[in-house]
């Protein structure tokens, strides 16, 4: 089959690879009909996230049709079912899964020993996202093996297009969880850093959950125009001071809820601290650029909440933790417990409350994927979200 394969920094190729097969009784094989490039795939493309190996198949946001089912998954799936596959693989039986903490499933990461060493304790297996999360082949391919498939799926009813439901696998529930874990009150101002795909979903989620005002921060004009369309007041940090504007919009008190939809690769030259981070990153003295975390800690109203859906990979530096401690901030973070949210979100899509396809700016064949990685990373051609069709 054909797949997008990681070969090194900024080197993803459209290769021929062996077809996947059922390996475990709870597996299924899915013929991918649509997949997407996620912002967090760019951390692998730029090779700032450790744990990739040459030959790894990319992709963790995908959907398709079930073409083969293992013996123990047959109670939940059958050939021909149309499914979205969540990026977090979960067993449904361990202590964490029983509590709904699917992104820290204790059984799905098959490289547990390696992850234990790095994180203290392993987190869930993820598709196409380093050997630290299991080294599973990703879904930017014609076919993919889905482990624990009896649990790791969302069945899609007829009448909905791929474009409407594809993002149930990652960015929609990720944006939703980012807003939900802020427990938004009708009096809250929610400030969101980053108007990429996750930021866009977070903006809509915060609006639907009833925030008094939603403020979106970015520098890319087309991303800001899309944020405004979703109901956000926008701040272009290249043109105005984020701190001053947020204070102005909140009567000097700061937003109650701050959401980091940027993560480890904050724009490298916008601020002095980002330049410092980038220089340290280049010298292998730091792995992540934490500008957004610093700014959120500074601007957040005391006793407020910081929500972090943005991906961080390792070490950050010069984080003013005393500020956070003294202000009594609550931090909520983590990979998304995708299946916690998908039933409700699927229902909202069916009812027409939201159509996540608004975020798609590019839809091309899988073979064009390597070039689209570059376009997406460099934010060229108005690119916000890329969908690939195998």
């Amino acid at each position: 089959m054909k797949a997008l394969v990681w070969h090194g920094t900024a080197d993803i190729r459209y290769d021929t690879v062996p077809d996947p097969e059922i390996e475990q009784p709870r597996d299924a094989i899915v013929k991918v009909t649509s997949c997407a490039i996620c912002g967090s795939d760019l951390h692998l493309y730029d090779h700032v996230m450790p744990g990739m190996e040459k030959g790894d198949i990319m992709g963790h946001e995908f959907m398709g049709e079930v073409v083969d089912v293992g013996a123990e998954a047959k109670s939940a799936l059958k050939v021909g079912d149309r499914v979205v596959v969540p990026f977090t693989i979960w067993c449904g039986e361990c202590d964490q899964c029983r509590r709904g903490n699917y992104s820290v499933c204790e059984r799905s990461n098959r490289n547990k020993a390696m992850a234990d060493k790095l994180f203290g304790h392993a987190t869930a297996g993820l598709f196409g996202y380093t050997h630290l999360t299991g080294g599973y082949a990703g879904g930017q391919a014609e076919y993919v093996r889905v482990p624990f498939a009896d649990r790791t799926h969302v069945k899609i009813p007829d009448g909905l297009s791929d474009e409407q439901v594809l993002f149930l696998g990652d960015i929609f529930p990720t944006g939703w969880q980012a807003a939900a874990q802020c427990d938004i009150q009708p009096t809250d101002t929610v400030a969101i850093w980053g108007c990429g795909p996750v930021g866009q979903m977070t903006i809509r989620s915060a609006v639907l959950l009833g925030a008094k005002q939603v403020i979106a921060i970015d520098r890319v004009p087309e991303r800001l125009s899309m944020a405004k369309a979703g109901g956000a007041i926008t701040i272009n940090f290249e043109e105005e001071s984020v701190v001053e504007r947020l204070n102005e919009l909140t009567g000097g008190k700061g937003p109650e809820k701050c959401i980091d939809a940027v993560g480890m690769e904050a724009h490298a030259t916008a601020t002095l601290d980002s330049i410092y981070d980038r220089a340290k990153q280049a010298l292998m003295l730091e792995s992540d650029r934490a500008h957004v975390l610093r700014e959120m800690m500074y601007v957040c109203r005391p006793a407020g909440t910081l929500s972090i859906p943005g991906v961080y990979g390792g070490l950050i530096d010069k984080v003013p933790f005393g500020m956070s401690m003294n202000k009594g901030l609550t931090w909520r973070m983590g990979q998304t417990h995708v299946n916690r949210w998908t039933d409700g979100l699927l229902r909202r899509i069916q009812e027409g409350q939201i159509d996540p396809s608004f975020v798609i700016t590019h839809s091309v064949g899988l073979a064009e994927g390597p070039g689209m990685y570059e376009t997406f990373r460099d934010k060229r051609d108005g690119c916000i979200k890329v969908v690939l069709k195998p």
């Binding site: 939900a180 427990d183 009708p186 125009s225 109901g231 290249e238 980038r278 220089a279 027409g352 990373r377």
Partner: protein, 175 residues
Amino acid sequence: MAYYRRNSSADRMARGLGWFSIGLGVAELVAARRLARWMGMEDQAGLIRAYGAREVATGVGLLAMGDARPWMWGRIAGDALDIATLAAAHHDGNPRRENVATALGTVAAVTALDVLCTAMLHREEAAAWTPPPDYSDRSGLPRPPTAMRGAAKDAPIPADMRTPDILRFEPVGAN
């Protein structure tokens, strides 16, 4: 917002100059005294070291900061500084005047490369620039956002994500 294309020929050239900058900078830092003696500028070893630090910083900027243009302008400004310093040392009283002339020639050649690379980078940006697309009709919501505000306020928030009452900013008027 600046648009730039990584991996273009101009960008690759800028990165090459970045590595050159780091190499030269390290040499200036490590062998400042020897370089100063070679050019008859014995009392200026400290200045050469400072220039070395500048070269390293510019090199890291070129290699790590994405858009190469501001760093290339930094290199050109540094070249001007180098030329001014060397020109001041190129006088009849300096027994190493010929070495200074050699250094001046080298810096002039590198300056030409820097200017060429910077011009290429700017030309590339001008050629690639297109007006940003307008996504102001892409709300994803069936009605205007003001009408959709709170449409999902019935969504259950799991216990582990709820804010304790004492940390809530409600009731209205509290802020």
